[in-house]
C-alpha cells in the first residue's frame, strides 16, 4: 500500500479528542502530535487516561469525539479491511506481554507472519528466530512457553513479536514496569538499539524516569484530560506547574536527572 503522507508528516495526529466513561471524563479536547522517527513518551498519574489514549491509538477502543489519524489514516469509521492493513503497519508490546500461553515463544513471534504473510513454516521460523535474537534472547528460549519466562524475558519476547512484521510504528505499554533494575536497563538498551535501526517511530507509556531522561525525544504530560505540555525532559523540567513538578522533584526524579546528565 503506498503511503499517502509525505515523509515529514506527523505519524500520529490527535485533535479534539474526548473520552468519557459514564460521567467520568477521561479526555477533554486533547490534542497531540507524534513526529516520524522520534521516541515519544506519554506520562501522567494513574487515572490520567494515558492507557486509554494508547488503546484508542491502536484501535482497541473508540473515543466519544475527536479525530485520531495514525500513519495518515483516520481511525474514525475505518473499514475492517483498512483496519487490518493498518494493524499490520504497527506493533504493540503489552504491559504484561500479551503472549499466547498455548504457543511457544517462537510460535508466538511467528504467528503474525503465519497469519498475514505467505511464507512456509521454515521461513516463518527463520524470521522469528531472527527477531528473537534481535531482542537479545537466547535461541533456546524460543522453545519455551510464556509461563516459563521471567518478566524481563516476557517483555523481550513480546517486543520480538511486535517487530515480526517490521512495523513503522511501535507502541510500548509500560516497557519497564515490574522489572528489576537490571532487566529494566536491558530494555532501555534494547529500545535504544531499535532507534538506531532508523525509520522506526516509538510511542511509549511509562513511569520510568530513567527511560524518560535517557531515551525520550519528546514527552507529553497528561493531566485533567488534556496534554499539559510537550517537550524534551530538559524543557519540561523548567516548567513550574505542580502537574510537572512531581516528575522532577523528589529524590527519584532528581536521581534520574543526575544519572542522565552524567552519561
Amino acid at each position: 500500500m503506498p503511503d499517502p503522507t509525505p515523509a515529514d508528516a506527523p505519524v500520529i495526529t490527535i485533535s479534539q479528542l474526548s473520552t468519557r466513561f459514564g460521567d467520568h471524563v477521561v479526555h477533554a479536547d486533547l490534542d497531540l502530535e507524534v513526529r516520524r522517527g522520534e521516541i515519544f513518551a506519554v506520562i501522567g498519574g494513574s487515572g490520567s487516561g494515558k492507557s486509554t489514549l494508547l488503546r484508542e491509538m491502536i484501535l482497541l477502543q473508540r473515543p466519544n469525539a475527536g479525530s485520531i489519524r495514525v500513519l495518515g489514516v483516520d481511525l474514525k469509521d475505518i473499514s475492517d479491511d483498512a483496519a487490518l492493513a493498518l494493524r499490520l503497519r504497527w506493533g504493540v508490546m503489552f504491559q504484561h506481554g500479551g503472549l499466547f500461553g498455548a504457543l511457544t515463544v517462537l510460535e508466538n513471534i511467528g504467528l503474525p507472519l503465519r497469519e498475514h504473510r505467505d511464507l512456509d513454516d521454515a521461513a516463518v521460523d527463520a524470521v522469528a528466530a531472527e527477531k528473537l535474537a534481535l531482542t537479545g534472547l537466547e535461541p533456546e528460549v524460543g522453545a519455551q512457553y510464556p509461563s516459563e519466562l521471567s518478566g524481563g524475558m516476557l517483555k523481550r519476547a513480546s517486543l520480538a513479536r511486535a517487530l515480526a512484521l517490521d512495523p513503522e510504528l511501535l507502541f510500548l505499554d509500560e516497557p519497564t514496569a515490574g522489572l528489576d533494575p537490571e532487566s529494566a536497563g536491558e530494555v532501555d538498551q534494547l529500545v535504544r538499539k531499535l532507534r538506531n535501526r532508523g525509520g522506526l517511530t516509538i510511542v511509549m507509556i511509562t513511569h520510568d524516569l530513567d527511560l524518560l531522561w535517557q531515551l525520550a525525544d519528546r514527552v507529553a504530560v497528561l493531566a485533567e484530560g488534556k496534554v499539559q505540555g510537550v517537550g524534551s525532559m530538559a524543557e519540561l523540567a523548567q516548567i513550574e506547574q505542580p502537574a510537572f513538578r512531581k516528575f522532577f522533584d523528589g529524590p527519584r526524579g532528581r536521581a534520574a536527572q543526575e544519572r542522565a546528565r552524567s552519561q
Binding site: R55, I58, L59, L60, L84, R87, L88, W90, V92, F94, Q95, H96, G97, G98, L99, F100, G101, L111, P112, E115, H116, R161
Partner: protein
C-alpha cells in the same frame, strides 16, 4: 417506621439495579449472537478462512474426551429409569414394557439432556475460563492488534466443534443409556437382551431418536455461545474469571432445560 421505609426503598433500588443489569446483559448477549452469526456467515461464504485445527481440537476435547463421563452417567441413568419403572410394571405384569419406558425416555429426553448438562459443566465452563483468562492477560487485545479476529480464532471453532460433537455424544449416550436399562431389565424383570431389543425395535420409532439427536445442535449452540460470551465479558482480574465461569455454567444449564421444555411443548403441539 422510617427504618422500614428506607429498607423498602433500598430493596426497590436493588431490584431496579438487578433489572437493569439483566437487561444490559441480555442485550449484550443478543449483540454477541449477532456478531457470531455474522462471523459464521462470513466463514461459510469463505470456507478457507475457517480454522480447522482449533475446530478439530475442540471436537476432541469437548467430544472424544467426554465419552467416558457421558457414557458412564447415561448408563447409570438408564439403570435408574429401569429400576424405578420395574416395580410398577411388575405389579401389572407388564414387564416387557420396560423397553418402551427406557427406549423412549432415554432417546427423546434423558440422553440429550444429561449430555448437554455434562458438557455445559465440562466444556462451557472451560470455554469461559479459557477466553476469560486470555482477556485478563491481554491476549485478546494482542490478538486484535495482530489482525486476528478473536471471534474467528476463539469463538467460531468452539461453536462449530460443539455443533459436531454434541449430537455424536448424544447418540453415544443413547446407546449407553439403553444398555443400562437392558441390564436392569434382565436383573429385576427377567427380560432378556434379545427380548428387550426385539420389543425396542418395534415400539421405539426413528422419530424418537431423531427428536433427541435434533435437540443436540441447539443445546450445543447454547452452551458454546454462553460460554464464549461470558468469557468475553471478563474484566479486571483473576476473580472475574471465576465469576464468569460460574455464570456460564449456571446460565447454560438453565437455558438448556428451559429450551428442552419449550421443545416438549412444541413437539406435543406438532403431535410428534
Amino acid at each position: 417506621m422510617l427504618g422500614s421505609t428506607m429498607q423498602a426503598a433500598s430493596t426497590l433500588a436493588n431490584l431496579g439495579q438487578l433489572a437493569v443489569a439483566i437487561y444490559e446483559q441480555t442485550m449484550a448477549l443478543f449483540g454477541f449472537i449477532g456478531e457470531c452469526a455474522a462471523a459464521l456467515a462470513g466463514s461459510v461464504a469463505h470456507p478457507r478462512r475457517l480454522r480447522w485445527r482449533p475446530i478439530l481440537f475442540n471436537i476432541r476435547s469437548a467430544g472424544f474426551d467426554a465419552l467416558p463421563i457421558v457414557g458412564l452417567l447415561s448408563f447409570l441413568l438408564g439403570i435408574v429409569v429401569a429400576f424405578q419403572g420395574a416395580d410398577q410394571l411388575r405389579q401389572y405384569g407388564a414387564n416387557i414394557f420396560v423397553a418402551d419406558l427406557v427406549g423412549i425416555s432415554m432417546l427423546r429426553e434423558f440422553a440429550p439432556l444429561i449430555t448437554a448438562i455434562i458438557i455445559a459443566g465440562r466444556s462451557g465452563s472451560a470455554y469461559a475460563a479459557q477466553i476469560g483468562t486470555m482477556a485478563v492477560t491481554e491476549e485478546i487485545d494482542a490478538m486484535r492488534t495482530l489482525g486476528i479476529q478473536p471471534l474467528e480464532m476463539l469463538v467460531l471453532p468452539k461453536i462449530i466443534g460443539l455443533l459436531i460433537a454434541l449430537p455424536l455424544l448424544t447418540a453415544f449416550a443413547d446407546i449407553c443409556g439403553v444398555f443400562g436399562g437392558m441390564i436392569m431389565a434382565q436383573a429385576k424383570l427377567g427380560v432378556g437382551f434379545a427380548e428387550f431389543l426385539d420389543r425396542f425395535s418395534k415400539v421405539v420409532s426413528v422419530t424418537s431418536y431423531l427428536i433427541g439427536i435434533g435437540k443436540a445442535p441447539v443445546f450445543a449452540a447454547i452452551i458454546a455461545v454462553i460460554g464464549c460470551f461470558q468469557g468475553m465479558r471478563t474484566r479486571g482480574g483473576a476473580d472475574s474469571v471465576g465469576r464468569q465461569t460460574t455464570r456460564s455454567v449456571v446460565q447454560a444449564s438453565f437455558l438448556v432445560i428451559v429450551v428442552d421444555a419449550l421443545f416438549s411443548i412444541a413437539f406435543s403441539v406438532l403431535d410428534l
